[in-house]
């Protein structure tokens, strides 16, 4: 099935944050980029497709002023926007975007109200690209900020702010113009994102945070803090499948979009690979599992959309662990 490959050593260990691994493959340039959060900086690795050349970098979260102490990053994601790859990072201070090749900053959006006398918690969490024009980012209040990204240059503008989730956003995912958001109360909302945005559907949560979400073939796969995974129809909201998948908090879910393979990882040290079969009555089958001993897994992503290879990361561990079909 799958075989564990030689790991890639990161410059710093992976922080305990859900969805803490982002992979972007640029076939034209022949580069695979990996991003993980380490405290207040992002470990960014660019490697050639065959893995012979590896270029690790660290991009710190920039501060609005030097006196504010250190900032914890909550998520980092690489998104393909036309010809360029953008690194989006969210912290307690705001949203930052960088050109992933040159590490130059493209955009800064401040979060939080500094006028309040008592410090208030604020953060961005949940990042996804929609079509090739928008990057959506969630925040602590449950809002989703829709940012318009030009084909080139740094004229990034706020297009709209979506309100619908009533607790902090955990994760965002998209398919074509559809975007799915999930939050700390387990609520899942389906949106249409474009020149005008619209809430299409709301699936009430079980009270447990929905920490990771993915969408494929109009099927939503959601992972919860209770260890459950649920498959919903993204047009009707109908619950098709429920899996008692993990013994701890699920931290990441990803789908290999060509073949419908799903990976789920959790803090119980297990990774599971599932085969999702689409259709009016979708089904799911357990294909593979592995235990990464003594590592609380925090991130998982397929490297190729055919599901032939994937990588996982874990807390306090500075390896990118690879698996490939054997």
């Amino acid at each position: 099935m799958y075989r564990k490959e030689k790991p890639l050593l990161l410059k710093g260990s992976t922080s305990a944050l859900a969805n803490n691994l982002s992979i972007e493959v640029n076939l034209e340039k022949g580069i695979i980029s990996y991003a993980t959060v380490h405290k207040s900086l992002v470990n960014l690795v660019s490697a050639s497709l065959d893995g012979t050349s590896v270029n690790p970098r660290q991009i710190p979260c920039k501060e609005p002023s030097a006196s504010q102490g250190f900032t914890m990053i909550l998520q980092a994601k690489l998104v393909q926007m036309g010809a360029r790859t953008i690194l989006v990072m969210t912290s307690q201070k705001g949203i930052q975007m960088y050109d992933a090749d040159s590490s130059t900053m493209l955009f800064w959006y401040a979060l939080g109200d500094v006028t309040q006398a008592e410090p208030q918690v604020s953060f961005g969490r949940g990042i996804c690209a929609v079509l090739s024009d928008y990057i959506c980012v969630g925040n602590h209040k449950g809002e989703i900020i829709v940012l318009h990204i030009p084909a080139r240059g740094s004229n990034i503008t706020v297009s709209e702010t979506l309100t619908g989730n009533s607790a902090a956003i955990c994760d965002l995912a998209s398919e074509n113009e559809k975007m799915v958001s999930c939050d700390d109360l387990g609520t899942v909302i389906v949106w249409k994102v474009g020149d005008t945005c619209q809430q299409l559907l709301k699936i009430n949560g079980p009270g447990y945070p929905c920490s990771a979400v993915s969408i494929w073939n109009d099927l939503i796969v959601a992972g919860y803090s209770s260890g459950h995974m649920r498959v919903f129809n993204a047009s009707t909201g109908r619950l098709h499948i429920e899996i008692a998948a993990h013994a701890r908090w699920i931290t990441a879910i990803d789908i290999a979009k060509k073949v419908g393979e799903v990976i789920s990882v959790a803090e119980d040290t297990f990774l599971h690979i599932w085969q999702l079969k689409p259709g009016p009555e979708p089904e799911i089958e357990h294909k593979f599992s592995d235990c990464v001993s003594d590592v609380q897994l925090q991130g998982a992503s397929f490297i190729s959309e055919d599901g032939r290879a994937f990588a996982v990361t874990g807390y306090d561990n500075n390896e990118l662990m690879f698996y490939s079909v054997c």
């Binding site: 922080s15 250190f70 918690v121 955990c170 939050d183 920490s211 209770s226 499948i241 013994a247 807390y315």
Partner: protein, 377 residues
């Protein structure tokens, strides 16, 4: 990140410190009266009402250096003195123990149960001082007031903030290694056959539903682990069974001296640039450190009992050896920047700083540890 992490971090580290001091005080045959005074003085300083009020205000956690300084002060809030090597060892043990508890917590809310375990034990240490016991009870109320209504998501953020604080800290602790809960590279052993969090389902079932929401069929899959349900949720009341051993006193059984070993990975991680909080002291933390120092200062003025020195090692020779072997990094970490800037403002503070450098101020009684050991022989 979460602005509600600091009280949990402080009380749990403090609780671990009390466990270790209690064990060492007994191991070194410190007279009961003196040992009790140490435990009482430290607890009453730790749970000082004004300090607790400040601590429970929403704020970022202290940097690692500031937190260490707080505990340097706290450990010296009584008649006991620790030299640098013993203080390092004490702090290493405290932090690794709490990192273990946070890492092994079944669900983020268990961190509150772990805290209550520590509170319960501290309360036991001060049962014969009603005024200090009242102080402890007030902090129970503060915890219930501030944490009872937090959502699972907020607790997760607290846990992530704590794990972030402890990230890359992989000191090997003999008690953990012996019990096989820590690997030789400093990571904790994560069992795959224990209990699952309260209120969750054993993994292994796949349920398929019909359009009307009825269960069409259920399949099983091999989830890999051998999990079982937990017997009780654990009580969040002032008194009750917390339902978890995490946070209870692991030194209760008679054990040989505690040992820490600095693993290679720890040394490496300490020297990497990590954009750590240690680089930028938080102005709020500075203010609170000042407050704590003043409180401790006030405490010390009323002391009349001669001081004694506590050793976290088996013998003085081992302690000296550890002091020599300390990496430069750790030695530098003892430079207390924050307080130095305030030296002119507080005479109490200056006095404490002066006292920190003094190893022994005994007045000729059998206060020295070597003397104690000789008399025991």
């Amino acid at each position: 990140m979460s602005l509600k992490t600091l009280p949990l971090l402080f009380i749990n580290l403090g609780g671990e410190m009390m466990y270790i001091l209690d064990q060492r005080l007994r191991a070194q045959n410190i007279p009961d009266e003196k040992a009790k005074k140490v435990m009482h003085d430290i607890t009453s300083t730790m749970f000082n009402t004004r300090f607790m009020e400040e601590l429970f205000k929403p704020q970022e956690i202290y940097s690692k250096k500031a937190m260490r300084t707080v505990f340097d002060r706290l450990a010296h809030a009584s008649i006991m003195r620790l030299n640098a090597a013993s203080m390092d060892k004490l702090y290493d043990l405290m932090t690794m123990a709490f990192k273990y508890q946070v890492s092994l917590a079944l669900r983020p809310r268990d961190i509150l149960l772990i805290t209550l375990n520590h509170m319960d034990a501290i309360k036991q240490f001060v049962t014969d001082s009603p005024s200090i016991a009242t102080q402890v009870d007030n902090v129970y109320r503060l915890f219930i007031h501030h944490y009872a209504s937090l959502t699972l998501g907020e607790f997760m953020l607290i846990r992530q903030t704590l794990l972030n604080f402890f990230q890359d800290l992989r000191i090997r602790v003999s008690i953990f290694l012996k019990e096989k809960v820590q690997t030789c590279n400093g990571h904790f052993v994560l069992p795959t056959d224990g209990t699952i969090p309260w209120g969750t389902e054993l993994p292994g079932a796949i349920r398929v539903y019909t359009p009307t929401g009825e269960q069409k069929k259920t399949m099983q899959f091999n989830c890999g682990g051998k999990w079982q349900h937990i017997k009780s949720e654990g009580s969040f009341d002032i008194r009750g069974d917390r339902g978890t051993p995490l946070g209870t006193n692991m030194y209760n059984v008679a054990r040989p001296a505690l040992e820490t070993k600095v693993s290679g990975s720890h040394v490496v991680s300490a020297s990497t640039a990590e954009g750590d909080s240690a680089l930028a002291p938080n102005p709020l933390a500075t203010a609170q450190l000042d407050l704590l120092s003043k409180l401790i200062g006030r405490n010390e003025t009323k002391q009349g009992t001669p001081e004694f020195r506590l050793n976290l090692f088996n013998t003085d020779e081992e302690e000296e050896e550890a002091a020599i072997m300390q990496p430069m990094e750790t030695a530098q970490a003892r430079v207390i920047k924050i307080d130095a800037s305030k030296q002119g403002e507080s005479t109490e503070l200056s006095r404490i700083m002066g006292e920190l450098d003094v190893d022994e101020t005994g007045d000729g009684e059998d206060q020295d540890l070597l003397d104690l050991m000789d008399s025991a022989n």
